[in-house]
């Protein structure tokens, strides 16, 4: 594939992600102008890219989407849900084409934008037919409410009054009439037809449209307006009309404040009092409308100081400070977003991986130097002291390098999470279960490999949550739950781990049904099932084979491919746990290592050989007297804090000898494996070390019980055990 096309693929994919993000945000807050502009830009840039590589069909499809936005912008209405759906379909089509290009290395010659064009054409016709009269009416009301937020919160009616052009001749003062109406909260004045120039203005002809908000009911306003209500549109203001987008309001306010600052930019004028007074007044009003009365007062005071001292600075500073206040949070976030974009550099993943590999080798080399230091110390060499200090310096540097490299591979989970709102939207529509996805902690970072690989298991979990966790509408209504289910996806860093949770507010899992299903499927013996605690029984859903039959899914209310989820997570060195509360919902908790670069292991000796055990799994180590080890059938177990834990002798397991406990003096490692405890008896426990775990290949690849190998400082090889497999 030529370089231009490769670049086009990368950039287009990023833009599609960005556009999807913006579209979903727009769906939630249709009045969010900034998002609308962002989405428009993304589509526009995508189209531009398609033009550069001469991909006409893609250009055509994107052009339609762009038109839909342009129409919404021009009519200053919000983008309809229909438009958003169509734009998403358009992006789907684009992704499909991009996929084809990636595979074939060329622009698909048979690509056709006909379907997308037709989609938008239909939507356009529908919108014209149904929405035209309403948008015209809604426009002024929404604008008025947005411009007067604090008044809007108490307004009960809104008036648009367009007096007759000759009303001045009839000794009428439309403004006085509005001022005299009961419960006046806010007024706006605009021209009925665009303003002429001052010298073309007929001062005796009224060209005003007055809009106003009132705390009184539409009926009271109409009565007070009397005859003139013929020339007025009076609307009731309800909570629905009041629900204007707070973000756009804050932005509008910021724009007004910004304009005041520009107004105050020193122009060398000898008497700036007029400008100061008006700018101060406007700024104070804007802040008051936003309900920020303290800042409003501060600006008013600063304006007075400015007038008194004939200096602009106090007011400028006060307005600037107010702009940095609450309103700037949203603006700041988007600025930060843009800044992020500016400061990133695109580097191929393979180059980073090469760096990771090299760092790994360096760590091994450093470890072997440590070994040499020990040898030198034993031989009481003169070199021992300088070697030791150099090793310490190297150790520090390598640790820093390792941290930097790990940080380079780190991505915010947002990159994985950003596709989920859309997924939920689709599944929710497909299953006809309205659901909202709440995402928490999407800024939590994790290794690139983890962020990329976790998507699939999470898709499974989210689908499960909605499909089997959340009840149908009727059941929810009966249980007194809100009709729209909440699926919460949260992520947080916990030490060296990243914890991701998927929580639904559904019916929860019925453990008795799980037990029954496990029995029906012959997954466990009846006695074993009876001995299980509820938690252990719940864990059965992760067993392969538990979820193969649809009836089981139906019965248990969960279980599609949970074993797949656990396997995928385990491959990343993580664990999955399940918690459920009857009637209140289910939480699946996925714990993953933060970095896959370095694994901490504990070394143990068994059967004359040293092995590593990933420290993640180790709960504690202890020694027990041999009389506390007892036989359970053919197996052995110990009792630890009232829990019976199966015990294996590592040497026997690895050599395949029967589980003979004739020599029971060795220390015991208690490990937690997918929520269950297991005990492994070893001959000796060594130290702890950081290793670069290499997957096994060649002859050793298929050996069960081994997670991988690592090179040791003295050149030896450490085999690292996969305890879960060992215990099985």
């Amino acid at each position: 594939m030529d370089e231009l096309l490769a670049q086009f693929l990368i950039e287009s994919r990023e833009l599609v992600d960005k556009a999807v993000d913006d579209l979903l945000a727009l769906e939630k807050t249709p009045n969010n102008r900034e998002r609308l502009e962002d989405a428009f830009r993304a589509f526009h840039t995508l189209k531009g890219g398609a033009g550069i590589v001469e991909f006409a069909a893609m250009q055509e499809a994107l052009h339609c989407a762009e038109d839909a936005f342009a129409a919404a912008r021009a009519e200053s209405r919000s983008v309809s849900a229909l438009d958003i759906g169509n734009c998403l379909s358009c992006l789907d089509q684009v992704l499909e084409w991009l996929g084809t290009i990636e595979q074939s290395g060329a622009i698909p010659p048979d690509a056709d934008a006909g379907d997308i064009v037709a989609l938008f054409a239909r939507a356009g016709a529908q919108q014209k037919a149904s929405a035209a009269p309403r948008t015209a009416g809604d426009g002024w009301l929404a604008g008025l409410l947005a411009a007067h937020a604090s008044a809007a919160s108490t307004a009960r009616s809104a008036v648009r009054y367009t007096p007759e052009a000759d009303c001045f001749f009839r000794q009428q003062d439309p403004l006085a009439r509005i001022a005299a109406l009961p419960g006046l909260l806010a007024v706006d004045i605009g021209p009925r037809v665009p303003w002429p120039k001052l010298d073309d203005l007929d001062p005796f002809s009224c060209n005003l449209t007055i809009t106003a908000l009132f705390a009184t009911s539409p009926a009271e306003v109409a009565a007070a307006l009397g005859d003139e209500s013929r020339h007025a549109v009076i609307e009731a203001v309800s909570d629905r009309t009041r629900a204007i987008d707070a973000e756009s309001l804050a932005r509008k306010a910021a724009q007004i404040l910004e304009a005041q600052l520009q107004l105050l930019a020193p122009a060398g004028e000898p008497h700036p009092q007029g400008r100061v007074a008006s700018a101060g007044l406007v700024a104070a009003n804007v802040l008051r409308h936003l309900g920020r009365s303290a800042e409003s007062e501060a600006v008013a005071t600063a304006a007075a100081v400015s007038i008194a001292e004939g200096r602009l600075e106090p007011l400028v500073e006060a307005i600037a400070a107010a702009m940095k206040g609450p309103t700037s949070a949203a603006a700041g976030a988007s600025a930060a977003r843009r800044k992020d974009v500016g400061q990133t550099m695109r580097v191929g993943a393979d180059r980073i991986d090469a760096l990771v590999r090299l760092t790994g080798e360096l760590i091994v080399a450093k470890n072997s130097l440590g070994h040499s230091v020990k040898v030198a110390e034993q031989q009481v060499s003169d070199l021992a002291v300088p070697l030791k200090s150099q090793h310490a310096a190297l150790d520090r540097l390598v640790t820093e390098l390792q941290r930097a490299v790990v940080a380079m591979r780190v991505l915010p989970l947002r990159t994985a999470f950003q596709r989920f709102p859309r997924l939920i939207r689709e599944i929710s529509a497909e299953l006809d279960k309205p659901a909202a996805l709440v995402i928490d902690g999407e800024d939590t970072e994790a290794d690139k490999a983890i962020v990329e690989t976790i998507v699939e298991p999470l898709v499974h979990l989210l689908r499960n949550a909605l499909d089997h966790g959340v009840e149908d509408g009727a059941t929810r209504a009966q249980a007194g739950k809100p009709a729209v289910a909440t699926i919460r996806l949260s992520a947080a860093r916990d030490g060296e781990h990243v914890v991701i949770e998927v929580t639904d507010d559904g019916a929860g899992i019925d453990v008795t049904k799980i037990r029954q299903a496990a029995l029906d499927r012959n997954l466990k013996a009846p006695e074993a099932l009876a001995a299980m605690s509820d938690e252990e029984a719940l864990d059965l859903v992760f067993l392969p084979g538990f979820s193969t039959a649809k009836t089981v899914t139906h019965l248990s209310g969960r279980g599609v491919g949970m074993d797949v989820v656990r396997t995928a997570v385990a491959r990343l060195g993580g664990q999955v746990e399940l918690r459920t509360a009857a009637g209140r919902g289910t939480t699946v908790r996925v714990t993953l290592p933060f970095s896959v670069l370095v694994t901490q292991v504990m070394t143990v000796e068994a059967g004359g050989q040293v092995f590593g055990i990933p420290l993640d799994a180790v709960v504690e180590t202890l020694r027990v007297d041999s009389d506390r080890i007892f036989a359970v059938g053919a197996a052995h177990a110990i009792v630890l804090r009232d829990r019976t834990i199966p015990l294996l002798r590592l040497a026997n397991v690895l050599t395949g000898r029967p589980n003979d406990h004739s020599d029971d003096s060795g220390p015991i490692v208690i490990a937690e494996l997918d929520g269950q405890l297991g005990a492994v008896q070893v001959d000796r426990i060594g130290g702890r070390m950081d290793i670069i775990l290499k997957p096994l290949d060649g002859l050793l690849a298929g050996v069960p019980g081994l997670a991988g190998s690592a090179l040791l400082g003295d050149g030896g090889v450490l085999l690292v055990l996969d305890l879960a497999e060992v215990v099985q």
Binding site: F168, A179, V187, L198, L263, S278, A279
Partner: protein, 84 residues
Amino acid sequence: MTVRVSGAGVIELSGRCGVEDAEVLQRHLLAAPASTIEWKGCELLHAAVVQVLLVGGARVRGEPRTAFLRAHIAPIIARSMKQP
């Protein structure tokens, strides 16, 4: 006089400015477009006068006497002001 030129580049509005003041104000503003409007003595502005202020984009200074003018009309006029 409710509308008068009170100094170089300053037009003063005071008392109750009625419909007939609109034309006077328009004339003053056309004669000196950069004028500042001093409206601190103003009690009432007829809609016709407000219309001239909005079209003229005149800069106003001072605080008018009534709450209605201060709270509702001042911000509207401020928004229409021409950038200096």
